[in-house]
């Protein structure tokens, strides 16, 4: 009786702890999102009533996010970069999955570890090392041959490469895990039924990998969208959203328009994360 009471109390305390943790998890996000709807010039209490001005108002001082040209441009650049990174890293991740699951070659285990390493290199280091290499190549070409390769200067191209350098590891791991679960006799069965190798790939193997490829693509998109550390060193004049927001926070102080965009990003990334989980779960049984 006593013991049962004890476990009961213990479980209750445990659940309270878990609850407290989720409150801790949600609090800053709620704070960041909630002030987007406060009819005030500052993201702070007291609450002055509900408004959607910080989204849709088209004039200062309450310029809404959908009329703020610089924020919208940041959003656009972030979108372009994230799409590029997602496509590139899903492609390379898929190649890597086939390479490491299906093929045998010397030093395979060592190279697999090499593939994982970019994930544990601090993002700042990836940023500066790529900046250093790209700049020294660009400088060398310019001084030696008078060729100016603009894409090697800080800008969207380098940002994409910098983010890709570690996001490719994430997509490779996700797609590799899925391919490992694939029953290879399925390919033999298709071959046996008369399909060519290319057709087997297109109708059997890739459809099987598709959920993992979509999920990996979404994760790559989200990681790219929120990345700051690597991007900071590689960014040119086309600043993505996180950098724009950081500048705004540092210089102008914070206005609720930042809350509006925070709300937008929290909901957007939350929905995308949900999609990636659902896509993977749906087919995992098959």
């Amino acid at each position: 009786m006593l013991q049962r009471k004890q476990t009961w109390g213990f479980l209750l305390g445990y659940q309270a702890y878990v609850l407290a943790f989720f409150v801790f998890l949600a609090a800053p996000l709620v704070a960041a999102a909630a002030f987007a709807f406060n009819d005030s010039l500052f993201p702070a209490l007291p609450w002055r009533g509900f408004t959607l001005d910080w989204f849709f108002n088209d004039s200062e001082p309450k310029l809404g996010m959908f009329h703020d040209r610089r924020l919208l441009r940041g959003l656009y650049y972030s979108f372009v970069i994230a799409t590029g990174v997602a496509l590139l890293s899903v492609f390379v991740g898929t190649c890597n999955a086939f390479l490491f699951v299906r093929r045998e070659f010397p030093a395979k285990n060592f190279l697999y570890i090499v593939m994982v390493v970019p994930l544990v290199i601090p993002g700042v280091i990836l940023g500066i090392s790529i900046l250093v290499l790209a700049s020294s190549i660009a400088n060398g070409l310019e001084e030696g041959y008078g060729i100016d390769l603009g894409f090697l200067r800080p800008g969207i191209f380098l940002v994409v490469l910098g983010q890709f350098s570690f996001i490719a590891t994430i997509t490779s791991l996700v797609i590799t895990a899925r391919l490992r679960k694939f029953d290879a006799t399925m390919e033999e069965a298709a071959l046996n039924l008369g399909a060519s190798r290319l057709r087997v790939l297109a109708t059997i193997t890739l459809p099987y990998l598709r959920p993992a490829m979509i999920a990996a693509g979404i994760v790559a998109f989200l990681v790219s969208f929120e990345n700051f550390n690597t991007t900071l060193f590689l960014v040119g004049s086309e600043t993505p959203l996180t950098i724009t927001m950081f500048d705004r926070m540092a210089k102008a102080g914070s206005t609720p328009v930042l809350n509006a965009i925070s709300f937008f990003l929290i909901v957007g990334s939350g929905l995308l994360a949900l999609v990636s989980v659902v896509v993977q779960r749906d087919r995992s049984g098959g």
Partner: protein, 289 residues
């Protein structure tokens, strides 16, 4: 013969993206950074090969103090993240019912993909002098004047734990999820109490997840930039900030490259020691999470 030629060609084609990626974006840039770090500026536009940039680091206590501070605070954050996160992961994987398990895990996954910037911004709104907590305490009559909760080390640590803890919980949940409940029950059945079952059965089983979480969390913390700057203010003394200053503010790329190299060497050494102590491998931990 044609068949084997085809296989070799396709192997090369599959290998090419991997090789280009690792070579052009990881190996060569790091060599370039190493070479740059070893260039000593002796006069404007005149360089010499030498360890001057590293010597400068040694001679200036503020630099290595910053590195040691960054390292020790990162270890503290890692330990706190493990202590706080393990019970949560265990709850999600083993105690919650099957339906709430998925929901809780999802609730953990969603903030994972929200930018550090927004999360730090949220903390600022809560903790600053005019922030929610200060105002609430005043309204409750617990304090008389606004209180500034930002710009101290405790806030930085809390903010960092907050930023990285989900990267601890997610691998832990996946590892614990794969653990057969019968193992825990057998542990109790054979006469173990809660503590011995935890120490002898659950923790050894979860070790790959624990190590994976710790490595990722430590690396993210030591390499983080936004959270220390925004929550700690100008004098947060985080090593990434020092690197940034060298690169962007002082335009001293050689020095910045050297500092970057030091950060990489330092964090790699910590991870290596951690792997050796826990007898795990990188492939068996991080690659599986």
């Amino acid at each position: 013969m044609r068949q084997s030629d085809f296989r070799r060609l396709s192997l090369i084609l599959l290998f090419a993206p991997f090789a280009l990626w690792i070579l052009l974006l990881i190996v060569l840039p790091h060599i370039g950074m190493g070479v740059l770090a070893l260039r000593e500026k002796v006069a404007p536009r005149v360089y010499e090969f030498g360890f001057g940039n590293f010597l400068e680091f040694m001679h200036e206590p503020i630099y290595w103090n910053t590195l040691i501070r960054t390292g020790s605070m990162s270890l503290l954050v890692t330990a706190l993240a493990l202590l706080i996160g393990f019970p949560i992961a265990y709850y999600i994987a083993k105690i919650a019912g099957p339906r709430s398990r998925g929901a809780l895990f999802l609730v953990c996954l969603i903030p994972l993909w929200v930018s550090d910037l927004i999360r730090a911004f949220g903390w600022i709104l809560l903790l600053r002098e005019t922030g929610v907590i200060s105002s609430a305490l005043q309204a409750a009559g617990l304090i008389d004047a606004p209180v500034e909760l930002l710009y101290n080390d405790a806030t930085v640590v809390i903010g960092l734990v907050y930023t990285v803890i989900l990267f601890m919980i997610v691998p832990l949940v996946s590892t614990l999820d794969g653990m057969d409940n019968a193992m825990i029950e057998a542990g109790y059945n054979l006469g173990g109490n809660g503590f011995t079952v935890l120490r002898r059965i659950i923790i050894p089983y979860a070790m790959p997840g624990i190590v994976a979480g710790c490595i990722i969390v430590f690396m993210l913390t030591a390499g983080s930039y936004l959270t220390p700057i925004l929550l700690g203010g100008k004098y947060s003394s985080w090593f990434t900030e020092t690197i940034y200053q060298q690169f962007i503010t002082r335009y001293n790329w050689e020095g910045g490259a050297a500092f970057g190299f030091l950060l990489l060497a330092f964090t790699s050494a910590v991870v290596w020691i951690g792997l050796k102590l826990s007898r795990q491998t990188l492939a068996g931990t991080v690659a599986k999470s």
